[in-house]
């Protein structure tokens, strides 16, 4: 995962291709939230705030166990408590840890026009670089899961980094470490998929027939997957059934095409200049001494006679600073 130089970059926002010099054999990492094991204690929320030094926000009771009403620039991880009335009169209490899902095909990155502001590392982590963020909020529009949040104070967008600083130093993310029930797990993507499939099988044996591993194809998979016991209630959990990147991004590929067009126009212009130069050869202005002498002779004429624009233009171009003032005074 980690190298002595840092994490290998797979791609960056608004940067056509990244370097081909690095070897593409990095391990892909993933978080997995086993919703079946989650007790909704919010230790992950606190651990996230603590590790990332995020400001405390005043909360209020709005009828439930949920602490904040929504994610904010200072709350990157939020336990959502959704209550759904069932047909048999019972209630489904759908608890979900909501934070960035680190898509394999990140809508935010594809939407971002600021070069390098959103980076996808070789291990799959998608991180924002606030230094390069221009605050346009296209990433918010591009995200199929509604995760990034804009800070009106700093004019930048923030979200979960999957503790890229910890992961690149061989530590697990803060939320994973804190989780007291082992509901949030961390490992290679492969290992997590294996765990998820096994767990889904167990849930199905226990009667949760629609249990599933949430790793949707529309975003080419996630680096934070869910084991969802009630798979038939994905929407109620707040997870889109079939998230896609392109459906929300019609405008942004067009931006990319525009960028290519602009680049093409620039190079065509340069090529045109070069061809012009080759055809006509070098062209010189009159020698400086002559130009100065000509300007001097014109400048010594009576001021009243210097009325035509061409003459004035010549005088302005002359290198003698005195001539200009003399002529127009």
């Amino acid at each position: 995962m980690a190298t002595e130089l840092g994490l290998a970059v797979r791609r960056k926002s608004a940067t056509p291709t990244s370097s081909t010099s690095i070897r593409r054999d990095s391990i892909e990492v993933s978080k997995l939230v086993d919703i079946d094991l989650c007790i909704g204690c919010k230790a992950c929320e606190i651990a996230c705030k603590e590790w990332n030094d995020l400001e405390v926000e005043e909360t209020h009771n709005f009828g439930g166990y949920q602490s904040h009403e929504d994610l904010t620039p200072d709350t990157w991880d939020l336990m959502r408590f959704n209550e759904v009335d069932l047909e048999d009169g019972g209630i489904a209490w759908l608890i979900r840890k909501d934070s960035c899902l680190h898509c394999e095909e990140p809508g935010c990155l594809l939407a971002c026009p600021a070069p390098g502001a959103i980076v996808q590392y070789e291990n799959g982590i998608v991180d924002f670089d606030q230094e390069k963020c221009i605050g346009c909020q296209y990433c918010i529009a591009g995200c199929p899961f509604d995760i990034p949040r804009f800070d009106t104070e700093t004019k930048k967008v923030y979200k979960c980094t999957l503790c890229v600083d910890r992961v690149s130093n061989a530590l697990e993310p803060a939320c994973v470490k804190a989780c007291p029930t082992g509901s949030i797990r961390f490992g290679t993507k492969e290992a997590m998929q294996e765990y998820g499939k096994e767990k889904v099988g167990k849930l199905q044996d226990r009667g949760f027939e629609d249990a599933l591993l949430y790793d949707p194809e529309g975003v080419k998979g996630l680096h934070m997957m869910y084991v969802v016991p009630r798979g038939e209630m994905l929407e109620e959990y707040g997870l889109p059934k079939d998230p896609t990147v392109t459906s929300k991004l019609g405008f942004f590929p067009a931006m990319g095409a525009l960028r290519k067009l602009g680049s093409g126009a620039m190079w065509a212009g340069l090529l045109g200049s070069a061809l012009f130069f080759l055809r006509t050869g070098r062209r010189f202005p009159p020698p400086e001494e002559e130009a100065v002498a000509a300007a001097r002779s014109k400048g010594s004429e009576a001021p009243g006679e210097r009325t035509d624009a061409a003459t004035r233009h010549d005088a302005d171009d002359s290198l003698d600073p005195g001539s200009e003032g003399d002529g127009h005074a």
Binding site: T3, L5, G6, L7, A8, V9, K12, T15, P16, T17, S18, S19, S21, I22, C41, K42, A43, E45, I46, A47, K49, E50, W51, D53, G116, V119, Y121, D127, D129, T161, V164, D165, R166, S168, N169, L171, A174, K177, A178, C179, P180, G182, S263, M266, W267, L270, F284, P287, E288
Partner: protein, 203 residues
């Protein structure tokens, strides 16, 4: 500018434009797909990378989870140690590195600006708390304990057995108390004749 010979020392306006164009063309390679940025990015330095690990126990409940406190300037001669971060100790068989939400926020017990730093006293009938010194607080505690003991001390029970017990107060300890502190407090309150002794600590 001399048309026939090469004059090296002069940088004319024209030469300046030429150089600018060359530089611009170099920068424009990026537009053709040549990435000028490094392929590896050093992002977000680990904030505990240079901190000292200090082992500790969670102060809150009786489970007694082990924690690691990350401190800068630890035991350095001229430095006041500064707490950077607290997280669970993975070596602990109790919590295996995990912490509950309250335990995960333990650092706030030390660094939060809203934390109470001296004894607080609210007079009977008053609505406001006021800060008092430890001296005053301990004096008042001692006074009340003595009064309560004098008032409610029982020499003999109804059947005439000598009991020498103090029914005026009970003692309740917290989870932060260690074995040794627990032993000492038990000794002291037994000496005062206290019967009701309880504490949450199972550490």
């Amino acid at each position: 500018m001399n048309r026939g010979g090469w004059v090296a020392v002069e940088l004319t306006r024209r030469d300046f434009f030429k150089l600018s164009a060359a530089g611009g063309a170099g920068a424009a390679w990026a537009a053709f797909g040549f990435d000028m940025e490094p392929a590896y990015a050093q992002v977000r330095e680990l904030k505990i990378s240079r901190a000292t690990e200090v082992r500790s126990v969670c102060p809150y409940c009786a489970v007694g989870c082990s924690m690691i406190a990350y401190v800068t300037g630890h035991e350095s001669f001229n430095t006041t140690p500064h707490l950077v971060h607290i997280e669970g100790d993975p070596d602990s068989p109790i919590n295996g590195g995990s912490l509950c939400p309250k335990g995960a926020s333990t650092m706030q017990l030390a660094v939060n600006s809203n934390r109470v730093k001296s004894p607080m006293y609210r007079e009977p009938g008053a609505s406001e708390w006021q800060e008092i010194s430890w001296e005053d607080a301990l004096d008042r505690l001692a006074r009340l304990m003595k009064d309560a003991r004098d008032e409610r001390f029982v020499d003999k029970d109804d059947e005439g057995n000598t009991v020498n017990r103090n029914e005026g107060f009970a003692w309740v300890g917290g989870a932060t108390i260690s074995n040794e502190e627990g032993y000492l407090t038990t000794k002291m309150f037994r000496a005062l004749g206290c019967v009701g002794l309880e504490q949450q600590a199972r550490v």
